[in-house]
Structures are given as C-alpha cells and as structure tokens.
C-alpha cells in the first residue's frame, strides 16, 4: 500500500472523523452564541456519520445497513436543526439576544 491508495485505508477516514469530533467539541466549548454552538453540533453529527460509514465499508458484511443508519443520522440532524432554530428564534424574541452568557438566569 503506497501513499497513492490512502483512500482505501480505513485509518484515514477514522482519523478524519476524530478531527471533526474534536473540532465540534472545541466549537461547543468556545462559541458564545447559540447558532455557533448549533454549527459545532452539526460537525459532531457528521463525525459520527463518517465513522459509521467507514466501519460499514471496511468491516461490516452488509453494505446497506450502514448507509441506512447514516441516512437516519442525517434525518435526525435535520430535525434537530429545525427545532433548535425555532427555539433560538423564540429566545431571541423574548431576550433580544442569543449570547449564551446573557441567558444564564432561570425562572421559578
């Protein structure tokens, strides 16, 4: 296996998925607005999907199972984005801000 056939080795994809996961977690920790945190969460979803698909391609016997699993991950991510954005808009309407620091007070 030379360097030209990197795309046939699972390690490349797995390390890439680990990088996406780490980038997403760094963004979740550092972003101070909800939309930034939402984008970082999407990166984590993508890391999970890439991981599943890689192991499905190189290890698992049934190629359709992993693809359907990833399809479900993408669908759930889309549903999550819709709900999160509507919550963000509702919060912005009440507080005139979506900075996570200013929304720290609880009621009740």
């Amino acid at each position: 296996m030379n360097a030209l056939h990197l795309y046939d080795r699972p390690a490349v994809y797995l390390v890439l998925a680990a990088f996406l996961l780490a980038a997403g977690i760094y963004g979740l920790l550092r972003r101070r607005t909800f939309i930034g945190m939402l984008i970082s969460g999407e990166l984590i979803f993508s890391a999970a999907a890439l991981n599943v698909l890689t192991l499905n391609r190189f290890v698992a016997p049934d190629p359709a199972a992993g693809q359907i699993f990833v399809l479900f991950i993408i669908g759930l991510a889309a549903a999550e984005v819709a709900i999160t954005l509507s919550i963000i808009i509702a919060v912005y309407r009440n507080y005139r801000s979506i900075h996570s620091k200013e929304l720290a007070e609880l009621k009740g």
């Binding site: 056939h5 795309y7 390690a11 797995l14 390390v15 890439l16 998925a17 680990a18 990088f19 996406l20 996961l21 760094y26 920790l29 550092r30 101070r32 607005t33 939309i35 930034g36 939402l38 984008i39 970082s40 999407e42 990166l43 993508s46 999907a49 890439l50 698909l53 192991l55 499905n56 391609r57 290890v59 698992a60 016997p61 049934d62 190629p63 359709a64 199972a65 693809q67 359907i68 399809l71 993408i74 669908g75 759930l76 991510a77 889309a78 549903a79 999550e80 984005v81 709900i83 954005l85 509507s86 919550i87 963000i88 808009i89 509702a90 912005y92 309407r93 009440n94 801000s97 979506i98």
Partner: protein, 175 residues
C-alpha cells in the same frame, strides 16, 4: 485502467480531505457566524466526496441535498432573524487565553485519544466480496428489514416540523 488515473484519484482525494478539514476549521473558528455557516457547507461538500469514496453515491447526494441545501439555508435564515455575531470578550485578555487553551487542550486530548484508538485497533478483516451498496439495495432494505425505523423517522420529522412551528409561533403578538 488508464495510466495516471491513480495519481488523479489520489489528488481528488487530497482535495476532498482538505475541503473537509478546512471547512470544519472555518466553521469553528470564524468570528462572523455567516462565515461559519459557509464553512459548514464546505465541510458538507467534502463529506459528500468522502461518502463517494466509501462507495455510497446515494448518501453523497443526500449529504449535499440536506446539508448544503436545507440545513445551511435554514441556519442562514436563523442568522438573518437574530444577531448572532460573537460578542466582544467580556473578561480580561488573560482569562480569554486561558479558557481558549483549556478548550484546545480538551479537543486535542479527544482527537489524540480517538485517533490513536482507531490507528492501533485491530479491525476484523474486510468481507471477501463486498456486496453492492446500490440504491436498489438501500430501497429494498428500507422497505423490508428497516421499514419500522423508516416509518418512525418520518414520524419524528413530522413531529419536529410541527413542534418547530408551534415554538416559533408562540411568542408572536398580533401586531
């Protein structure tokens, strides 16, 4: 096989990996959120290419359709309706650097740990003859083996849409 096609394939793969990594970095590090959304779109394009290299052209199409076409556009709507730019750091500069360093450390530890795990793990050997992951196979399994999860995910999407509408409408006054 055409001579030189190996080189071409490796070049395309390199471009796709660079697109994914660069998109993820832009998505996380950009100060303007709208650039972060563009980074997410670039990252999704790179991921679609990776899916294609993993013998799943259908998923590559879906990734572009859903992430670039739906998720990023929806987030851009959210950006237009709110003021999402990063506020100026409130604390002193030293504390900012300290917290940034801690977050970077956590991310680096996670990356190092997971990458080391996946590089040193002994995966079972690949199946002898990989079956086709064609669209026909996916469709047949969706309608036979995975028909219940398929129905459930459509229910989840329906509930999500209704819930999003209800939540976004709730605080809206008459005027």
């Amino acid at each position: 096989m055409i001579p030189g096609s190996d080189l071409l394939l490796a070049g395309i793969f390199g471009v796709i990996v660079a697109l994914t990594v660069g998109g993820a970095l832009v998505a996380v590090l950009a100060t303007r959120i709208i650039r972060g959304v563009c980074g997410l779109a670039l990252c999704a394009l790179g991921l679609a290419g990776l899916y294609y290299f993993l013998h799943s052209p259908f998923l590559a199409l879906m990734e572009i359709l859903i992430y670039v076409g739906a998720v990023c556009v929806t987030i851009i709507f959210g950006v237009m309706l709110t003021e999402p730019d990063e506020p100026a750091p409130a604390g002193s500069r030293g504390r900012e650097v300290l917290w940034g360093g801690i977050a970077l450390l956590i991310a680096a530890v996670i990356f190092g740990g997971v990458a080391r795990l996946s590089l040193t793990a002994r995966w079972p050997a690949a199946p002898a003859a990989p079956a086709d992951g064609s669209i026909e196979a996916i469709g047949v399994s969706l309608l036979t083996t995975y028909s219940l999860p398929f129905e459930l995910i459509s229910l989840v999407l329906l509930v999500a849409i209704l819930g999003a509408l209800v939540i976004a409408r709730a605080g809206r006054g008459k005027g």
